[in-house]
Point group: D2
Chain length 350, copies 4
């Protein structure tokens, strides 16, 4: 298997010429046209010299063999770290990023008060679920588009960009209209129709590791997104399933250095799902920074005991502020910057 | 949470009347209109006497509280075993059912020769993937609709009904036109949009347990299908992930008695994915019958070493025939019937 | 690494001569003198021709390189199946063997009534724990030697040989005086001092798989016993740990064909620990026979609800008899024999 | 179940009096005489008022019911943190402790050069295995007592106290003569005879979590040691088994806050076994400090590629020094102290 990577901005005519050349070699082209970049997989004819010569065609950036199972997400393909840009924030650079908010958007009050708390404590992105994949069909499934509108309102008030989950291909258009970052949840890590759909969008994607998926499978799932043309992907370790039920999941902290060694994509850790108990969130959040993660995503709720989902693992407002204060010196100790708390009412985007 | 179960064939006007009555109580109705039956979930107002009185309305079969997480799939709800009917075959009754065929449909020859072999050895259903969810975006993804057409041809020649996988909601219509049984694969067990889509269809569904999913979660995933109106569901144990790599997965044989104890739905075992090695398929297939499964689904290929996917776990034609012969006495020993081999060329549907 | 396997009955002088020859080659001999056979490992000097020539010395049976991690337990080393003989019973031959009894010996009445029940239903070996390894230091730890004496009394009354657990090297002598089969429990599968101790004894050993040990590790643990001179070893699958708590452990049924493929040693299945619930024991016991196991070991108790340990997974007397009746036709279906029930009071050893 | 905890230094006559009193109540005393303290378990007669009155007898410190499964290791029993003292070092206090050295002692040169490196980089304890439990009987099993002597020589040269593993009850006496800390390895976490033996010794014990053991089981294993009279116990998280083989084990970082919440005992993390790859050791070591561990135990080797065991996870000397430098600021960031590097040749104990 070989891949032809077209240059960003390659013309349609150039892509067409490459496709024809491949067919002329008796091989089957498998083009993925992304918003930024087009990639053309070639099935058959491995290692033929004719394929390698495709690199001389107009608009072609690279012709590379797939030796690992994954290619575009790998360090071989792109030695420099990918920095994902979201409304002026850089994920994967020097700054340690905190995404926070409730598991599910429940009401206007809930999401607005949380957004202000997140901003004031130094968080940079607001999380909140509008479409909730739930194990039981009878559990609260989220407010849907109404939830997205409430998130947008919170964004206007605080300036925080929004991350929210998209649960099926047909929702991608709608969620993309509102969200700054699309989240693909753990249950959907191998929902390939969904991965292809978010691969065709011009918004960053946070891809969560399935709760019993290997790191290799996580990278291959990301490859689906990149090979469809969207390279703005963040990988999220959120705990895997193990035999011990002392924590809801087992946070695989070594996933951070393992992914960093293999891929150029940023790594985010979710200590809330990773442990399932608010008491363990601050310690594991500190572990995440120390291990080299580029950020965390945590659950915060004005009143965790009344949360419609994930209450036991949600931090209260004071607990969140305290966690942030404990995190900052560790970030500095490993050579990161981290936003300082903001005075109440002070603007972050003036 | 309460559920109003409408009678099969309840009129639209009757359903409308129940919905209005619920709203009149200040509660939120959550109707799921299936092809066979409509179910109305009620959010809020638990245990209220007024809700229970809904059972006196026209067209209402039952009003039941959700005490377990799952309801419609549970033994409490339906003490008798569900028997799924597929083109004259009954799954869940006395007969032990064998579904067999290649992992993926690759060519006309491959699927036709396999279909004849399956029929002659006494198999009742032909399996074959046309849409293949693959871990890597660069692996063979199936022949698509062309594969479905080849399956249909094989069905015409042999009389065997077809089971094939559907991988996303937008494919449900197309696959339903060809298939006799829709398969939801392990990776999609918690793809709720897909579960809802197959819940609205009038074809039986085989739901595979996710390789990271508990039995409870499998039952809850089935509940999504039943609560959307389709009660023709078979549950499939296909191996879970464990630490030991001696087998591809760990076949959880005790899932058979556990599911039988909790649910009225038929249970199918997949010894091919369950072990990942053809050498272990016959022994685990025998274990499945002995443990009380209603059938198995196995991979057979004319030339396993050349298969485009899952070759190592596919049986050759002689191996399949031998497995069937070893299975039959065990089926009889546990009080089951199992089809005898058919003379070559002999018709099963004359 | 090479191993010199001495003939059964090789003289001490012959062994001494081999040891000297090895030292003469500048290598380090590592002799294990078992009651039946002596094995001499050689560290250093791999593949040297001089080592191979050791096979010409008196008393030497074979000189074999260790290519797998395990050697003596492997099929390469001994292609014929090992048949373990216990008081006239053969484990690993045509007959399917049932070992049964309480988790722990609790009283004279309890063990005698159980022994009679086991014998009458067609069981061949009486199990019962006198030394119980317990997770908590405050749980009942067994009756100790008193328990062994009660087992002996039950043996005298019924003629059933005894299997009981030995939990530390210093207990091996005492337990060996009473028991017909020594059991090494799951927690002790890698207690190497204990494995070496039971390897030096002339009684069969049942080695249980650790609850998170791979099959490879189980075979290597058995290798410790065989390389110390005791080749009368049975391997026992008793469930491994997984993420699903629907059953106490996950019975790895495919371990049966996997071990049969790799080793000549008999395989026993423990459906009681494998599932942890008496309701699932009969189905998984049938699965064990069907999959090719040589026997099962099950827990039976006169009054499971009052058992001092493992009550939920113990069968009552009528349940045990019923399970035996369900097992017999399946054994026959896979070409095994199985003892018929015995008339009450009828002697088995007259 | 009740426990009578005798005061440190209680007289034999006082203990005898309590035992008699218990027997006088018709109950069975179960005394564990440790070097520091005696504990008397009482079987039967739960909650009786007479038992509680035992607290008025001479020499009795407390009479406590066992409500959790574990008692002496729990926070309820001792709200203050236990500080383990080893040759002037305090484990569990403000200082973050680094124990380091080779997996196995291989030679005089190897252990002496490593000891100097550990000391100079700021490590406080020297680790090194003399008795190695190995999965295969044919692997290198350690130098035995010779290894202990070499460790002692290294201790004399550098002043570093020694931690080394003890693998069976009969070795406890010998190992205790040389070691400052006894290590019970993961495979032996539920070797109860060994736990009882180290519970009767006056040396600190480092108890490693079994790779298949829950945190609850780890605490209960520690309870065996404490209930035998030795309260100087450190608990060690060293990675558990999971399905993902990207790392040798899965380091369960949340075990640190979980154990801290439940127990007063110090927690040590082993990032070498936890990951199995030297490349991931520094990141996970930093995660350990950040999460609140009291120390780490890491493998260092003069020439990892030639190590007789665990080479891939051993740090070279420069890698160790670099890891220490990366650790120090993180320790400070979470309010810990950590020893500075020592000039070559400079004495630490003058």
């Amino acid at each position: 298997m070989m891949i032809v990577v077209m240059k960003r901005g390659a013309k349609t005519s150039e892509i067409g010429a490459v496709v024809k050349s491949i067919e002329g070699l008796g091989l089957k082209p498998h083009p993925s046209r992304g918003p930024e970049q087009t990639i053309i997989g070639i099935i058959g004819g491995e290692n033929k010299e004719e394929i390698i010569k495709l690199k001389f065609l107009a608009g072609v950036e690279q012709v590379v063999p797939v030796t690992n199972n994954y290619k575009l997400v790998g360090k071989d393909f792109r030695p420099d770290r990918t920095i994902v840009k979201v409304n002026g924030i850089s994920v994967g650079g020097d700054e340690f990023i905190v995404m926070a908010g409730p598991c599910a958007v429940e009401s206007r009050d809930q999401i607005l008060s949380t957004a202000h708390t997140v901003r004031e404590a130094g968080g940079q992105v607001l999380r909140g679920g509008a479409f909730k994949p739930r194990t039981s069909p009878y559990s609260f499934q989220g407010l849907g588009e109404e939830g997205l509108k409430l998130l947008t309102e919170a964004k206007k008030e605080t300036g925080l960009p929004i991350i929210t989950e998209v649960t099926s291909p047909e929702l991608v258009d709608m969620v993309t209209r509102y969200a700054d970052i699309l989240q693909v949840g753990a249950r959907n890590m191998q929902n390939y129709a969904l991965l292809e759909a978010v691969g065709k969008v011009r918004k960053p994607v946070l891809l969560k590791r399935g709760l019993m998926s290997t790191i290799e499978e996580l990278l291959l799932a990301a490859e689906y997104i990149l090979s469809n043309g969207n390279s703005q992907v963040m990988l999220c370790e959120r705990g895997i399933r193990s035999f011990d039920k002392a924590t809801r999941n087992t946070l695989d902290i070594s996933a951070v250095p393992v992914i960093k060694q293999r891929s150029h994509l940023p790594v985010i850790v979710d200590p809330s799902h990773g442990t399932g108990h608010r008491a363990y969130v601050p310690a594991t959040a500190r572990a995440a920074v120390a291990a080299g993660a580029d950020g965390i995503i945590v659950e915060v709720h004005p009143s965790p005991e009344n949360a419609m989902s994930d209450g036991p693992q949600s931090l209260s407002f004071p607990e969140f502020a305290e966690m942030m204060n404990g995190l900052r010196p560790v970030a500095v100790a490993v050579g990161r910057t981290m936003s300082a708390p903001v005075e109440k009412g002070e603007s972050t985007h003036s």
